[in-house]
């Protein structure tokens, strides 16, 4: 039986064992470097890099939109892997469930931003707030899908039950991604419409560096968010366990009281 043979003992144990100073330090380091990276990206993106010959200033959104979309898919990928690992009996561990939940939550935040920046890109370019671009449509569907996933996670219940239910839902949600993307892009190819091709305008010199920087910076921000949300989930789990000890004591006291009732 693995150390997490049953939920309550494991939660109490791992809540404490897993937040060693080292993990926290790495996370805050990522956060800091990420923050610096973001500031740099914004500074470079908005002021330093030249406007694009073809798109003018709109190209500056290039330093936000694609990296947000990348982080969203990265977050969902991590959530999928953690869920799959949780479902695999040998590697079943409540910490994996917390990673899956934390990553999915970050994913939803990134997806929201991707959608907003995507439509802000579309408005001046094609005059419409929303285009049925395969990537954008898939992202929108993912947004709704994972909102459902998060709603499912918030339902009360046993940690083990909730973890298993969420892991299965995450599995199903993630398998839907390729199917959606494939069907939407096929659907779009039937009647050609505006699609986002980041690579269309040739990217050179400082633009390319800023783009790379934005990917790295926002990915680090994602890592920090994941770690932060994970530690919060650990505390929440411990909060549940904390309450449990008192509930057990109260329940046992009932035995005493009923004895008193009987005796009197």
């Amino acid at each position: 039986m693995s150390v997490a043979s049953h939920p309550v003992e494991a939660v109490a144990l791992t809540g404490r064992a897993l937040a060693p100073a080292r993990g926290a330090r790495i996370a805050s380091a990522c956060g800091l470097v990420g923050l610096v990276g973001v500031v740099l990206t914004v500074w470079l993106g908005l002021w330093v890099t030249p406007p694009d010959a073809y798109m003018g200033n709109l190209v500056r959104l290039l330093y936000i939109h694609p990296s947000m979309a990348w982080d969203a898919f990265l977050a969902y990928g991590v959530s999928f892997l953690a869920s799959a690992a949780y479902l695999w009996p040998r590697t079943r561990d409540l910490r994996l469930d917390r990673v899956a939940g934390a990553s999915a939550e970050a994913g939803v935040v990134f997806t929201g931003i991707t959608l907003v920046t995507g439509s802000l890109w579309g408005r001046p370019t094609w005059g419409v707030w929303w285009t049925w671009d395969p990537l954008l449509t898939t992202t929108a569907l993912l947004f709704v899908l994972y909102l459902g996933y998060l709603a499912l996670r918030r339902l009360p219940g046993e940690p083990e039950v909730r973890a298993r239910r969420s892991a299965i839902a995450a599995l199903v949600a993630f398998i839907d991604v390729p199917i959606v993307y494939f069907s939407v892009s096929w659907w779009r190819s039937l009647h050609q419409g505006p699609t986002i091709q980041p690579g269309r305008s040739e990217v050179h010199g400082s633009m390319a560096w800023t783009l790379l920087l934005s990917f790295v910076a926002f990915s680090l921000v994602y890592v920090w968010m994941l770690a932060e949300r994970y530690r919060l989930a650990g505390l929440q789990a411990r909060d549940e366990v904390e309450g449990l000890a008192d509930a057990l004591a109260e329940r046992r006291a009932e035995a005493g009281m009923s004895r008193a009732g009987e005796a009197s």
């Binding site: 406007p51 936000i64 931003i113 920046t117 949300r229 904390e242 046992r252 035995a255």
Partner: protein, 59 residues
């Protein structure tokens, strides 16, 4: 918004995009830290685990 874009060649949209992105990330990050602080204050010292069976209370 539309008029703004035409006048400044879309810079309005770009700034809007940056503001939305950074603001959302900042708000989310702050909420995480705040919730963690509030919870860790409420939970007693990290050391205390909750052994399940609990001490035999004279049952």
């Amino acid at each position: 918004m539309g008029a703004l874009a035409v006048a400044t060649g879309g810079i309005g949209y770009v700034q809007g995009g940056y503001v939305v992105a950074l603001l959302t990330l900042a708000l989310y990050a702050l909420s995480l830290v705040a919730r963690r602080r509030r919870l860790s204050r409420r939970l007693p010292s990290a050391g205390r685990t909750a052994p399940l069976s609990g001490p035999r209370d004279g049952a």
